[in-house]
């Protein structure tokens, strides 16, 4: 065997495993098989590899002892009743809607007495604008003089926001998890 033959064989033997794994291209496979047809050393090396593949594929399959699945499930705690996936989203939406409604209601209660323009005002845009400015100034003034209007609105707003926050936090709390381990 010449040095050229030796290095060629060594290079092809590197390809034996990928060949048996089916990872060579058709051209590479053809080259390898062509060489093995004329090279006894590479052919016997391929046989040893094939024997290993065969033995590995024949390793008997082992099974766990009887009752294995019972031991798996027996050690696990019961899970908390699963929540339907739409519940957190619906609760959140309901909370937000309620908060918005409460805020609106509070605002209405605070300014309701001042919200009714006369027919005369409603027909003239300029007068209506002036009236709006007066309303705002009057509301701020009234709130400063007698803050009950403002407090009423703010109380309801805070109540609604608090409830929405409660719903959000409750939705974000993870459910009971198995504690095993």
């Amino acid at each position: 065997m010449t040095l050229h033959d030796f290095t060629f064989c060594a290079r092809l033997q590197q390809q034996l495993q990928p060949w048996l794994d089916g990872a060579l291209t058709p051209n590479e496979s053809a080259l390898l098989q062509g060489h093995m047809a004329i090279c006894g050393a590479c052919r016997s090396s391929a046989e040893r590899h094939r024997d290993l593949w065969r033995l590995l594929s024949q390793l008997p399959v082992r099974s766990p002892s009887p009752g294995f699945s019972s031991r798996v499930t027996g050690a696990l705690p019961r899970r908390a009743a699963p929540q339907a996936s739409w519940v957190p989203g619906a609760a959140l939406a309901l909370g937000c809607l309620t908060a918005g409604a409460a805020a609106l209601l509070g605002l209405l209660l605070a300014v309701l007495p001042m919200l009714w323009p006369s027919d005369e005002l409603a027909e003239d845009p300029e007068l209506l604008l002036d009236w709006g400015v007066e309303i705002w100034q009057g509301y701020v003034g009234a709130s400063l003089d007698s803050p009950y209007h403002l407090l009423g609105g703010l109380s309801l707003l805070l109540l609604g926001a608090g409830w929405a926050l409660f719903i959000v936090l409750r939705s974000a709390t993870p459910g009971a998890r198995p504690a095993h381990g």
């Binding site: 390793l59 766990p64 381990g181």
Partner: protein, 181 residues
């Protein structure tokens, strides 16, 4: 009709007893893989239990439609590698020759087969854990190079190198007693 993995996952989310069907579907494959990795039935069973407990705890995070088995063998492989690292001793020889059922064919042929299996099992156990894992994922689980790379979280080239080294080692070790007739 066999339930799909998705059906079994949905069922398992209801509780441990409902999880049993999923365990029974995969327990033999997982146990067999672990057994070949650690070479000891008791350790294999303990580790297989841990695999299924871990999977149960991760059910809430498990993505619907994702394949179950790759998830399980990743848990199993990682657990085995950690276990072998912690043990830091050579694994005990495989007990194949003792555990294989009584032969039904020609006694001498069966005896030879059992000896081959035991020798191969011992040779596999002598491999470094990561090489062993790559070899078993390829030959026992029939995974592709890419799947092995993903399971062991190493580059593709590393998998090829590990497989090459593992097989060369096995061929060398078995040359005298198994592969050569």
């Amino acid at each position: 009709m066999n339930a799909s993995d998705d059906d079994l996952i949905a069922q398992a989310r209801q509780g441990p007893q409902e999880y049993r069907a999923l365990v029974e579907r995969y327990q033999v494959r997982i146990y067999n893989l672990i057994y070949r990795m650690v070479g000891n039935p008791q350790d294999a069973e303990d580790l297989a239990l841990e695999v299924f407990w871990r999977f149960y705890r991760s059910l809430d995070r498990f993505q619907a439609g994702a394949p179950v088995y790759p998830y399980l063998y990743r848990i199993a492989t990682n657990l085995c590698l950690t276990h072998l690292k912690a043990r830091r001793t050579l694994a005990e020889p495989l007990l194949d020759a003792d555990l294989v059922p009584a032969p039904e064919g020609h006694p001498e042929v069966e005896q030879q087969r059992r000896e081959q299996e035991a020798a191969l099992g011992g040779a596999i156990q002598s491999l470094p854990p990561r090489l062993r894992a790559a070899l078993l994922l390829r030959h026992v689980e029939d995974l592709s190079y890419q799947e092995i790379a993903a399971a062991l979280e190493v580059p593709l080239g590393t998998v090829k190198t590990w497989l090459f080294r593992a097989r060369q080692t096995l061929i060398e070790r078995l040359k005298a007693e198994v592969v050569t007739p």
